[in-house]
């Protein structure tokens, strides 16, 4: 290690110290991390619920005249949500529709959840379509009704096929929550901005970037494990 490397290292430590330790600034990052995780987790749950419901309705609406209007509603939902930017949706939720809610967190969760639902619905629909029609016919001929066939035969196979795409969506959602600052949410990104505003130095933004990266790498790892676990069934046959 020569002197220059050492001084460079000291420089970085100095900057990290200013960005994180001076005035307990790391607490801003912790609060931000908490809110980012809350948004991501609950929006994922809402998004998955909406996605499954919408995808199933769309699937059944194909062959059922009575359900056709409901199918149109679902089509409209995915078209509008996927066709408009999430920031604009969030601002509309906050300033026009959900004006009765005081806290920013529930608004963000609702906004991101409903946004994610549209993408999840399309992924699941693709998953259902990927399962051979013979599977449904087999289930029906064994005396299961439509819902049972969907739940017990089609869905388990579909989920395995779409897991990588779903993982992608969840990762995208986690990163998308970084725009919640538009409605005055104190999320991870906002924490980085706040520290940057106090220190006029962007080091905190790197810290924030690394935290996002670690979260995403962790999620990838977990979903990879799940994927491998689900594949075990294939090998047995």
């Amino acid at each position: 290690m020569n002197a220059m490397t050492l001084s460079l290292f000291g420089d970085i430590l100095d900057k990290l110290n200013t960005a994180l330790l001076v005035q307990d600034r790391y607490k801003l990052i912790l609060t931000g991390l908490k809110n980012t995780l809350l948004m991501a987790v609950f929006a994922t749950i809402i998004g998955t619920l909406i996605g499954v419901i919408v995808a199933v309705i769309k699937y059944f609406a194909q062959g059922n005249k009575k359900l056709t209007p409901l199918g149109w509603v679902c089509d409209l939902y995915t078209t509008v949500i996927r066709g408009t930017p999430v920031v604009v949706q969030l601002l509309i939720w906050s300033t026009v529709i959900l004006t009765g809610i005081r806290e920013a967190l529930p608004i963000a969760i609702i906004g991101f959840g409903i946004n994610s639902g549209a993408y999840v619905a399309e992924i699941i629909r693709a998953g259902i379509d990927s399962i051979d029609k013979g599977q449904t016919e087999a289930g029906r001929s064994l005396g299961l009704n439509r819902i049972q066939t969907m739940r017990l035969i089609v869905m388990p196979q579909a989920v395995k096929n779409i897991l990588p795409a779903l993982a992608n969506e969840f990762i995208a959602l986690l990163k998308e929550t970084s725009v919640a600052g538009y409605i005055a949410m104190h999320d991870l990104t906002k924490a980085g901005e706040m520290i940057k505003n106090n220190t006029f130095d962007g080091t905190a933004l790197f810290v924030v970037a690394i935290i996002y990266l670690v979260l995403v790498v962790g999620m990838t790892k977990l979903l990879g494990l799940l994927e491998r676990r689900l594949k075990k069934g294939d090998l047995r046959s």
């Binding site: 100095d14 920013a104 220190t199 006029f200 690394i210």
Partner: protein, 299 residues
């Protein structure tokens, strides 16, 4: 293992970028010189309590004249780039499709003096100082309060207006008895009202500080009951209230005076001379007062 590798990669990335920015980014404060001597006395008075350790350890690299927008370079370009946040009436706001206001007129006067055309960049308020520091714009004119922290990053012109922080409160709330402690305070992110009032525990301990992209957004959320009070500069506060007189009121809590200055890159003395002389001329002719009256009534 892969995870560890990824983290290592990220750290090394940070190191590389950090090295670049500390080498090339022009942070040239000659540590002993208090930047812009005329602005200093007024602004130091405006300083709310603030611990000075914050960025004092920042490394000082020599001025990078490579991207410094000197007078010569601006004339060569034929364009003066002004960075502002056009949600701060009467200093800068959008009128129809045009950005106008007191600051824009001042910038126009500076551009006229230089014989170039003015280009206005409308952006978020909080990164403006950073952008000026790194030469992504020529002048930061956005009702920027000159204070010690910011003077470490950029040079300031002489001040062109003296103002103070106001509270915007819902109608029916008595300002004299309003206590911000334990309340939800709305601010514009990165402004004086944010950094030196709402976010400074020595000044107040609110329950929560909500940081918005503009004071207008903050006031709109106050009207919805999401914040109890908005802290923002006097004149924008009055302008915002004037648009919603039945819902909100402006209150002067008697905070310290502070003054607005124009931000430019550290060591850009040729530009500072021009800016200061134009400001002096406008002040002598009473033009700045005129502009304020005009843009306040324009709202």
């Amino acid at each position: 293992m892969k995870k560890i590798l990824a983290v290592l990669l990220a750290v090394s990335m940070t190191a590389v970028f950090g090295a670049c920015s500390s080498g090339g980014g022009a942070t040239s404060s000659e540590t002993s010189e208090p930047a812009s001597s005329e602005a200093a006395p007024e602004s130091s008075e405006a300083e709310a309590p603030e611990s000075s350790e914050a960025s004092s350890e920042e490394s000082e690299a020599p001025a990078d004249t490579g991207n410094m927008p000197t007078v010569e370079k601006i004339k060569e370009k034929g364009e003066l780039v002004m960075l502002t946040n056009a949600a701060f009436p009467p200093f800068e706001y959008v009128d129809g499709s045009e950005i106008t206001g007191v600051d824009v007129e001042i910038a126009q006067a500076i551009a006229d003096e230089l014989g170039v055309k003015l280009s206005v960049t409308n952006m978020d308020f909080d990164p403006i100082i950073d952008y000026i520091k790194t030469g992504k714009g020529d002048l930061g004119i956005a009702g920027i309060t000159a204070n010690e922290e910011r003077e470490k990053a950029v040079d300031f012109s002489t001040s062109y207006i003296t103002t103070t922080q106001y509270m915007i409160l819902p109608t029916g709330v008595d300002g004299a008895t309003f206590d911000p402690n334990g309340k939800i305070i709305g601010v514009q992110q990165g402004t004086t009202g944010d950094n030196y009032y709402a976010s400074d525990p020595e000044v107040m301990q609110p329950k929560e500080v909500k940081r918005y992209k503009s004071a207008v957004d903050a006031a709109a959320d106050m009207a919805l009951g999401r914040v109890d009070c908005v802290i923002i500069d006097e004149m924008p506060a009055k302008a915002i209230v004037a648009n919603n007189p039945d819902k909100m009121q402006a209150y002067d809590p008697g905070y310290d005076k502070e003054s607005y200055s124009i931000a430019m890159m550290k060591g850009n003395d040729s530009l500072k001379q021009v800016v200061d002389s134009v400001l002096q001329k406008l002040a002598d002719e009473g033009k700045i007062e005129e502009m304020i009256v005009k843009h306040t009534s324009n709202q």
